[in-house]
């Protein structure tokens, strides 16, 4: 049965595409495409009724963001999603530094829901909403 929401653990990190994109320029299309996405386990995508390359809404205690769901080729890692570092990941990451200066960028409880009709914001739109500039 297709679920409305799925509880997962959010990880953020590097991908080669993100590395190439950031060196090409943060305003480049390559960078946008490489960081406004989320790797998901195919089984989790089935549970949610989400197809490859469609949008999902990821929500944590710290915020929510719409990103594109992409099937992870080296599954399984059910219950885990992976968003490359960038403004989209940071919109939902934990700012808790545990008194050592380091925010928590990995292992954050999150919820995923399908959002086919919601658009993925571009960098300027996202920054405008988040910071009003």
């Amino acid at each position: 049965m297709v679920q409305q929401k799925l509880r997962v653990i959010l990880l953020t990190g590097r991908t080669i595409e993100q590395g190439v994109g950031k060196e090409r320029g943060k305003a480049s299309q390559e960078y946008f495409e490489s960081v406004s996405m989320c790797y998901m386990d195919p089984e989790d995508m089935k549970k949610l009724g989400v197809r490859n390359n469609t949008n999902i809404l990821v929500t944590t205690k710290y915020g929510s963001v719409v990103v594109k769901a992409v099937k992870y080729r080296r599954a399984p890692h059910t219950g885990m999603i992976y968003i490359p570092y960038g403004p989209w990941a940071n919109a939902i990451c934990s700012h808790e530094t545990d008194s050592i200066g380091m925010p928590t960028f990995k292992g954050i409880p999150a919820q995923v829901a399908p959002a086919q009709n919601k658009p993925v914001l571009n960098m300027e739109e996202l920054l405008k909403i988040e910071f009003g500039k």
Binding site: G19, Y62, G63, Y72
Partner: protein, 484 residues
């Protein structure tokens, strides 16, 4: 056409120094020996997203201005601030970082580098228990067991495996490249057979998938270098590993403590730890103890998940325990090409590697208090200078909200998320392409960066821009003292 050889790549902590560039009409046209990210940098440096003129915010919009005006405005911001943050520093040269320390002392601000959201916890762990480490040259020539824990060099340090570890041809240890090639050919063959089986009119075709090992595979008993990957998900590096161990998220600490107990010949009262059976762990410890020279490379999988610096503490302690039985070393996989350099420069100038607070007139260091994210979360800073980094894209939202509320100066060659939010933007020359300097590799070996082409007209180096801001700030401060 000129071919420039032995160029050091200014991308990641590997600092590969065997890059060849073909330069034509003052532009880099071809990159040889580099990885995908290296090529993107050497080709993308002159892309359309480059900032070529200083910018200043007027009526809510960034407009072009002169260099003198931008320097004056920045100096005013910094001289009038009570507690500015000077953040970034990891993608510039040691020479520019040194001027940065002087500027931070002059304005009484917080001097912090990107290690704070990267390997800051590793530094804290090292300060707790020390570090038995080595250079990458030693690893290349001697290591017969390489463990990547919580890191994926294939994505973040693409040539690390090829230049320094398993695929490198060392003096005493050979490259395992051919073995992996065979493995990939076999995997491709399996895929082909699977496809044919699907089309064949056979009910319940026999399984041809390799069985997921519940214990280390036979190839761990082979001669030569062995590669183990410990991660929460199967990464590209895990694909090439001889043995992949999938640990449950946030359970690295437990796993390493269990390994420490086993190295010390203690028995465990449980059946599994962090999702891995104890029999498997025992086999793993036997492999670790049985090697001649082992090395653990760890990444942000340890520093960013639960436990943070305690994970590093225990990883180093495990290495120390293993040294009672064999030779073992450990090294953090540093990200930006000169983040190690910024820690080193800050340490030899102030005594502390990051999060240095000059507000009392002398350097203070208290991670959790003087680190930039915490200062921003407490809303204490009243201005910021960001150089060679992009905190708006890499800091948590709540911290960025305070950063962009106050005057913000950005020095960066590209337009990035932080530049879009800035009040003053300085275009700068690319370190390692348009301006030379020194950078520290992840194993603390300093390497020279080359100037290959000239920067665009009117674009200065980070060091020169900082020097001008420092000079102007001093003038304003002097006037303030005289007026008082």
């Amino acid at each position: 056409m000129t071919i420039v050889k032995s160029v050091t790549c200014p991308v990641c902590g590997c600092l590969c120094d065997d890059i060849e560039l073909v330069v034509e009409d003052g532009k880099v046209e071809e990159v040889k020996n580099g990885c995908a990210i290296c090529e993107s940098k050497f080709i993308g440096y002159r892309g359309e997203h480059r900032v070529l003129k200083p910018k200043i915010r007027q009526n809510g919009k960034l407009v072009d201005t002169t260099l003198q005006e931008a320097v004056k405005k920045s100096a005013e911001i910094l001289a009038n601030a009570n507690y500015p943050i000077l953040y970034g520093w990891s993608s510039t040269s040691c020479e520019a970082q040194r001027v940065g320390v002087e500027l931070a002392e002059e304005v009484g601000g917080v001097l912090d580098n990107t290690a704070v959201v990267c390997h800051g916890p590793s530094i804290l762990g090292i300060q707790e228990v020390g570090i038995p480490s080595c250079t990458l040259g030693q690893v290349r020539h001697r290591a017969d067991l390489v463990i990547y824990w919580g890191c994926d060099p294939w994505s973040a340090h693409p040539r690390h495996v090829e230049r320094y570890t398993t695929f490198a041809e060392g003096r005493f240890e050979g490259s395992e490249w051919k073995g992996y090639l065979q493995k990939f050919k076999a995997a491709a063959g399996r895929k082909k057979i699977k496809r044919v089986m699907k089309q064949a009119p056979v009910k319940n075709p026999p399984s041809i998938e390799p069985v997921t090992p519940s214990e280390p595979p036979q190839k761990m008993k082979k001669d030569g270098r062995k590669l183990i990957v410990v991660d929460v998900r199967r990464t590209m590096t895990a694909e090439v590993a001889d043995y992949f161990i999938q640990v449950e998220p946030n359970k690295d600490y437990e796993l390493m403590e269990a390994l420490r107990a086993l190295v010390r010949d203690q028995e465990l009262d449980v059946n599994s730890v962090a999702g891995i059976s104890v029999e498997c762990l025992e086999e793993l410890v036997d492999i670790m103890i049985g090697c001649n020279f082992g090395i653990i490379f760890f990444g942000l999988g340890l520093t960013m998940s639960a436990g943070k610096f305690r994970n590093i503490d225990v990883a180093i302690s495990l290495t120390r325990d293993l040294n009672m039985r064999t030779k073992f070393a450990i090294m953090p996989m540093r990200g930006h090409f000169n983040v190690t350099g910024s820690n080193t420069v800050f340490t030899w100038q102030t005594g502390y590697p990051f999060g240095v607070d000059f507000s009392l007139g002398y350097p203070r260091y208290n991670p959790g208090e003087t680190t930039s994210v915490d200062v921003l979360l407490r809303r204490e800073s009243d201005a910021a200078l960001v150089i060679a980094s992009d905190p708006v894209a890499n800091f948590p939202k709540k911290a960025v909200q305070h950063l962009v509320k106050n005057p913000l100066i950005v020095i960066d060659p590209h337009m990035n998320a932080t530049s879009l939010m800035a009040d003053v933007v300085f275009p700068s020359a690319f370190v390692g392409i348009e301006v030379g300097g020194t950078a520290y590799r992840m194993d603390h070996v300093p390497l020279p960066l080359k100037k290959v082409v000239d920067p665009p007209e009117g674009v200065l180096s980070d060091k020169e821009i900082l020097n001008r801001i420092l000079e102007e700030t001093r003038k304003i401060k002097l006037k303030q003292v005289e007026a008082a």
